[in-house]
């Protein structure tokens, strides 16, 4: 009995640590007279790093009767979630101070959101899944509206809240159907029930479709993307950077876990749906972004299309496909953090500017920033040899291996279309009349941009560790399922 409790404690250590630290920071922030936004944010990032250390050390296994799973797959996804959350927190310090929204609740809420995401990633039961999802969503609604005196931010929070609540309702309805037709909410039990009985499958399939809709919403994949542009534009920029990284990884991990685990026996049924979602996302992301003038909206459409590419790997339904999706998510997380770092650096006269035309002639004003932004844009477009190219190569290769030629061809064509608007940003930066220069950005933001840009540009030299970790993770996922 003690050994079981020991394992449970070890596996849950990162989550317990984050929860306790978040509550501790909350108490500290409430009780102290002065505002400690900076200290709280730094502590939160340190806690994330320590939690990452614990996650790597946690033993693999299922605790609480399969409610909570830890294996190489959860480790990989947890790392990306924590990377996204830490990145957003680091970007938030400077931004929140200058926008006068720097309050200690921000890191606390991000920590609770991170906790929810870790639970989502490790969910081994529909109940854990739902609670993790609600925890992360609830914290995200609040941080989306964190600039509460700003009309756009409150609108973003409200919009995200209402649409997301609807998606949660659909998800919950789907879960209830799956439970009703298979008699269990446990993932291992579901896999067994769905594989063994043919009769239950029709009803359960309807439930699975609802569950997929709910998760596709969190992933902002078309046709459930409608909230994305408005929320990305309205939310404070560090929050947008959080939206585009960590929750996406968590939702993707959950989708992979569900479809490749308990729902794997119905592969032939859901494969077509994932293909449709992937194609719709790629097309909508590529075409919708063309007319955008606001760079945050542009990034919203870009994230929709990137989720489409990442889903190609899942549609392949193979271990190589899962591994490709995981590599893609890692690459996307880094690219995205870098671009949002650049967007945060776009301040003029003490105000955030976010139009693409504000970048005009950046090359002559701030050569380093322009170079980093150009590298990140080329990486997002998937120009070889930058990181985005390798991500796309992996997913297209997996699709071709599974015989999904049509999907791969549409993916290549849409990425050519998408390259247009990424290149337009570069053209504006390098060839347009110079606009007034930006304010100085903080060292942390500069380091973040430089780091992400360097990683994206030089990925070709270090693909080994990432793709290796991804393939180990994919193996763990399929081995467990």
């Amino acid at each position: 009995m003690t050994s079981m409790a020991d394992i449970a404690l070890h596996a849950l250590m990162p989550d317990i640590l984050i929860a306790l630290a978040a509550m501790g920071l909350l108490l500290f922030g409430v009780l102290s007279k002065r505002d400690h936004a900076l200290a709280c944010t730094v502590t939160a990032v340190i806690v994330f790093v320590v939690a990452a250390r614990f996650i790597l050390a946690a033993p693999a296994g299922a605790i609480f009767g399969g409610l909570f799973l830890t294996d190489d797959f959860t480790r990989y996804a947890d790392m990306l979630v924590l990377l996204g959350c830490s990145g957003a927190l680091i970007l938030s310090v400077d931004f929140n101070r200058r926008e006068a929204i720097g309050r200690f609740e921000f890191p606390v809420l991000v920590m609770f959101s991170a906790l929810g995401m870790l639970v989502m990633v490790s969910a081994g039961n529909m109940m854990t899944l739902y609670l993790g999802l609600e925890l992360q969503s609830l914290a995200l609604y609040v941080v989306a509206a964190f600039a509460r005196d700003d009309l756009r931010s409150t609108e973003a929070g409200l919009k995200y809240f209402i649409l997301s609540a609807l998606a949660s309702g659909l998800l919950l309805y789907g879960i209830s159907l799956v439970y009703g037709f298979s008699g269990t909410t446990d993932f291992a039990g579901l896999a067994h029930a769905l594989a063994s009985s043919a009769r239950a499958n029709d009803g359960a399939l309807v439930g699975i479709v609802f569950v997929m809709v709910g998760l596709a919403f969190k992933l902002s994949a078309a046709p459930f993307h409608m909230w994305t542009p408005d929320v990305y534009e309205g939310a404070p920029t560090p929050v947008t950077s959080l939206f585009s990284t960590a929750p996406k990884m968590a939702a993707m991990a959950l989708l992979l876990r569900l479809l490749m685990g308990p729902f794997a026996p119905l592969l032939s049924q859901w494969q077509m749906l994932i293909e449709i979602i992937a194609i719709a996302s790629m097309l909508l992301g590529a075409l919708g972004a063309i007319g955008q003038l606001n760079i945050k909206r542009l990034m919203a459409y870009s994230s929709i299309s990137h989720m489409g590419y990442a889903l190609i790997g899942l549609a392949a339904g193979t271990e190589a496909g899962v591994s490709a999706t995981l590599v893609y998510m890692a690459i996307y997380t880094v690219m995205s953090l870098g671009v949002f770092g650049c967007i945060i650096a776009m301040r003029r006269g003490g105000k955030q500017v976010e139009l693409i035309s504000d970048l005009a002639g950046l090359d002559r004003r701030n050569r380093g920033l322009a170079l980093a932004m150009a590298a990140l844009m080329l990486a997002l477009a998937g120009i070889p040899p930058l990181s985005g190219f390798w991500g796309k190569l992996y997913v297209f290769y997996a699709a071709v291996q599974s015989g999904l030629y049509g999907l791969a061809v549409i993916g290549v064509l849409t990425s050519v279309v998408a390259a247009f608007y990424y290149l337009r940003v570069i053209k504006v930066m390098y060839f347009d009349e110079a606009a007034p220069s930006f304010d100085h950005h903080s060292k942390a933001v500069g380091l973040m941009i430089a780091g992400c840009a360097a990683l994206s540009a030089l990925f070709v030299f270090v693909p080994g560790p990432v793709s290796q970790a991804a393939s180990v993770a994919a193996h763990a996922l399929l081995g467990a399922g």
Binding site: M23, L26, G65, L109, V119, L138, A139, V142, F146, G157
Partner: protein
């Protein structure tokens, strides 16, 4: 014997008060009848041996939900008379929907198969010799402790969120400063002017007080 008498009394009052909730003209009366309905439902739960549900119903529904309703009814200016307009026009539609629902329910009940052994289970809602609450607690605090604690986290985040989004600093809010109000002299604010017939009075803007400056900021 006593149990069935209590059952009929409680369920009778429950049905009556539920009807009163819908029909009473005063919305405050509706909420009060709703509370009465909740109390009687709690009694029914107690009779069935589900004392935990009974207490939850009393604490959560009467203590929180019904009071919230009362707040809403009293504080928001909802025109209930306008909501009732067109009652006769919509009554047939309502009756139709009610009939369809009733027919569906009847079909379900007619096709319902009671599993063998369910009747015995129904008579003993608590496993073994322990009470319902103990049985629930033993599950929630051992096997489902993770889910229980996560639910607590969700509630905590909801609370933090509500405070973050609505709480205003005292310094920034428009509170009356009693000391300053009492220190005000008549001469500071009031000027006596003799109004000329046909010419009126030329308004002189009062000297800006520190408080007015703060508000305008």
């Amino acid at each position: 014997m006593i149990a069935s008498i209590i059952f009929y009394i409680a369920s009778g009052i429950l049905l009556l008060s539920a009807a009163m909730v819908v029909t009473s003209r005063n919305p405050v009366h509706s909420v009060l009848f709703l509370i009465l309905a909740f109390i009687n439902a709690a009694v029914l739960f107690l009779l069935a041996g589900a004392e935990f549900l009974a207490m939850v119903l009393a604490i959560v529904y009467i203590g929180a939900v019904a009071v919230l309703f009362l707040f809403v009814v009293m504080m928001l200016d909802v025109n209930f008379a306008a909501l009732r307009e067109g009652y006769q026009r919509y009554a047939p539609v309502g009756a139709l929907v009610g009939f369809v629902l009733f027919a569906e329910l009847a079909l379900v009940v007619m096709n319902f198969v009671i599993a063998p052994g369910a009747a015995v289970l129904r008579l003993s809602p608590a496993p073994g010799d322990v009470t319902n609450t103990v049985a629930l607690g033993e599950l929630i605090y051992t096997r489902y402790i993770l889910l229980f604690q996560l639910s607590g986290m969700v509630l905590l985040v909801a609370m933090i969120g509500a405070i973050v989004l609505t709480h205003r600093d005292r310094k920034k809010s428009l509170r009356p400063d009693v000391a300053r109000q009492q220190a005000r002299q008549v001469a500071d604010t009031l000027t006596m002017v003799r109004a000329e017939f046909g010419a009126g009075v030329k308004l002189v803007s009062p000297p800006a007080t520190p408080q007015a400056e703060e508000i305008s900021q």
